[in-house]
Symmetry: C2
């Protein structure tokens, strides 16, 4: 006997992981996707166009392991670990900045590949039934017997399903969320940043003679070209190419309205990337790829009793600058299922507790992601940032687990929740600030002291010597 | 020749005022309303159920005058001016707190009456054509010739209109806003407070013998029963009755789940109101009237080029505690038309400028409204509040126009924009805080001085005497 039937809307990354997790705990799962199966040939062709690379890190991996160790291994067999950022300056110099203290890495992976792998896993499970081309059009949360009645549109006709609970994993523009909002007083906010992104492409090394030199630049780095107001990044693919993304103000994109201006812009700002990509490839991308907008959405609560809950981007879309979007969505599933077990499968209690406790962590990572844009395109080249990174490294080695850089906590420590990471970082930041102030003040006092000695002003000198000794 | 055709969606208060204002400036106006004409007999019956009183104050009146002095007079002929709050305590004592420094008043008016009056005015204008039972279902902002193509549903069939511009005045759950959001990167937030409202009723004085005594309590006050966590308010109607509203946490309403509990609650918290309403009337209201939720929505920008703009609640629904919702919506119209004239009827430039400049004022009044809930249900009976009010009054008399209480600026000074009112209040508050601190410190020092004299501690006494003289 199953524990009940759960409908999951959205067979993307988070939807698949949720399906596998609920199935594992004894639920019957109906997994609905409005689009066709992404493994069908025509869909593969479509997907390859938006190959968007992801970085799977500890929180994502922890969730995969939580479901099945072998699944995690399968995923990790096809990633490219990135241990560090590679910062490219205007002259083409490259400087590596480690991500972790002990060689930890985030892992470049192809979104479509991961989605296909997860769907293959879903297909093996007898208790998960998948419905493609099924678009959710209506949700009745007051159906007879306390059940949820869902209406999908399939091939132009309505089809009705009755389930015990609905899980919405249908992305930033979630239909489930809209249905939920009609039944719940949901606080909601949606904030666009004034920047857009455009996907670019670095082809494999044309001079390659072996498997080792197929990448033109290091495949084990996340490459960044920080230019303060805008930036370029690149993540390696297994075939030797790189998926690159340009982030810049909308205005900047609008001004690049001719081939000459585009090439001129790259010559001026990304001369080495221009060489790696080639003029034609750049122009092709500018002509064919859409400009994407960047939005954060926050909401609360995430549920209606035990009837419906939203997870992943449906509940918290964030800008991509901390590489946590998918990892956080996966973690949603692990957190939810843990609460479910704790509450002995009382689903209403579980959803309520999830909404209450998960919110602070989701707000934290949404804000951290936003702040990290400034870090990536601007701060990584500032002296203050590099000094802070150095101090952080020293303190982390001295105090071990008691002092952890923020990036480490967010990307490599799934046992530390996002909000706890922020809390600890706030305290650490205050301490570092005091240290910096102390160093600066000591330096100033030292200078005044020397100056006063030189000018033989004994009064100042005495006063300062005293003060300095305190 | 007209300046162009403007479609206005929503023939509520703000929609009608916008129609009149655009018509006045030489536009052809099509005014669409999804419901039937609210003046038809069956609609009047429906409306009387939700009689919700409004307070029209200076910003609203200024806009009516901006359109037509006679229109303003017509409206003001049927209001009940309220010069003060009447605070009711638990024992039934009533204390009056003036709203203005010079007897200024806000004016109680019936929403349905005002809407009918505005529609009568709209009907006179040849260049305004009104369409009832027309529900906006689709907006195409890229129609040929730079026009906007709108599809309405009327009697189950689609009807298409082509216009130059669309103005959405269709309330908090605006369809226009939804259409706009598909075409504009609109920042948006929606925040519910954890409180609900319920409409109650105080019948006319049953012992009335003349026109003067038909109200059981003063008709020229806004009555408040502040009880910290919740409150009751009442505004007079012309027929001697009062429309009363209870505001309380949802939990509080949910706990009042039997007639005994409801009456017990009133006996304990609002004994005088219980007498005024009568048990049956209260129970009737609790059984028949819905609990309403209270929401703030903020967004920006408000427009898509010169094609579409949203005004009133569609752009900024606020909680009702500053009595500014409608007044602010009316002001939107005046501000918009002023910018339009300044820009010589360049509609795109006008909408863009409006979005840029109006936002800060709308955010200000949304936040002020939220803060005023605490003031109305809690602060009005605190000593700090009363002291501040007193100090404010004194400083306002001394410094005249240079010092104005916040309430005065918001409710009686349409020449001071909301954000400017907040800016001035922030400065004033800081000054008052210094004064209060000074008074308090002086008092403490004085006390210590006396104590030290009494204990003959000459050292302390000398020190303090010196310090006190500084």
């Amino acid at each position: 006997m199953t524990k009940g039937t759960v409908a999951i809307v959205g067979a993307g990354l988070v939807g698949c992981v949720a399906a596998l997790a609920f199935e594992k705990k004894g639920y019957k799962v109906l997994l609905f996707e409005s689009r066709p199966d992404c493994r069908s040939p025509d869909q593969i062709a479509k997907y390859s166009f938006r190959s968007i690379n992801l970085a799977v890190s500890a929180r994502g991996i922890e969730t995969l392991r939580f479901i099945d160790d072998k699944l995690a291994e399968k995923v990790l067999a096809n990633v490219l670990p990135m241990h560090a950022r590679m910062v490219h300056d205007l002259k083409g110099n490259q400087v590596s900045q480690d991500y972790g203290l002990n060689g930890e890495a985030i892992n470049s992976i192809d979104r479509a590949y991961l989605n296909r792998l997860l769907l293959d896993e879903v297909d093996i499970k007898n208790n998960i039934k998948t419905y493609y081309n099924h678009k959710l059009v209506a949700s009745d949360f007051e159906a007879e017997g306390g059940r949820v009645m869902l209406t999908f549109e399939h091939e132009g006709k309505p089809i009705i399903f009755e389930v015990d609970s609905l899980v919405g994993a249908d992305g930033a523009y979630s239909t489930t969320r809209k249905h939920l909002q009609r039944n719940v007083r949901m606080n909601f906010s949606q904030d666009y940043i004034d920047h857009a992104y455009l996907e670019l492409y670095i082809p494999p090394n044309p001079a390659s003679v072996s498997n080792e030199d197929k990448w033109s630049i290091s495949p084990n780095h996340l490459h960044i070209w920080p230019r303060h107001a805008f930036m370029l990044i690149a993540l390696a693919n297994l075939d030797g190419s790189f998926t690159s993304t340009m982030f810049a103000p909308w205005k900047c994109f609008e001004e690049l309205d001719s081939d000459d201006k585009i090439i001129g812009f790259f010559e001026q700002n990304f001369p080495d990337a221009l060489k790696l990509m080639g003029k034609d490839t750049i122009l092709n991308s500018f002509h064919q790829n859409p400009r994407g907008s960047l939005v954060s959405t926050k909401c609360n609560p995430y549920n209606l009793a035990g009837k419906c809950i939203i997870i992943g981007d449906a509940a918290h879309s964030m800008v991509p600058f901390y590489g946590q979007g998918m990892n956080c969505g996966f973690e949603d599933v692990r957190v939810l299922i843990n609460i479910l077990e704790k509450n002995e499968f009382n689903i209403q209690q579980t959803y309520d507790e999830y909404s209450m406790t998960r919110n602070k962590d989701l707000l934290s990572i949404i804000d951290l992601s936003m702040n990290n844009y400034t870090e990536m395109r601007h701060s990584v080249v500032s002296n203050t940032y590099l000094l802070r990174k150095k101090i952080d490294g020293i303190l982390a080695r001295v105090f071990k687990n008691k002092w952890l850089p923020l990036y480490t906590m967010v990307s490599f420590r799934p046992d530390i929740m996002y909000s706890e990471a922020v809390r600890r970082e706030t305290r650490q930041k205050a301490i570092v600030r005091s240290i910096v102030n102390l160093v600066q003040n000591s330096a100033i006092i030292g200078l005044v002291l020397i100056a006063s000695r030189l000018t033989r002003s004994t009064i100042i000198s005495k006063f300062l010597s005293k003060w300095f000794k305190r």
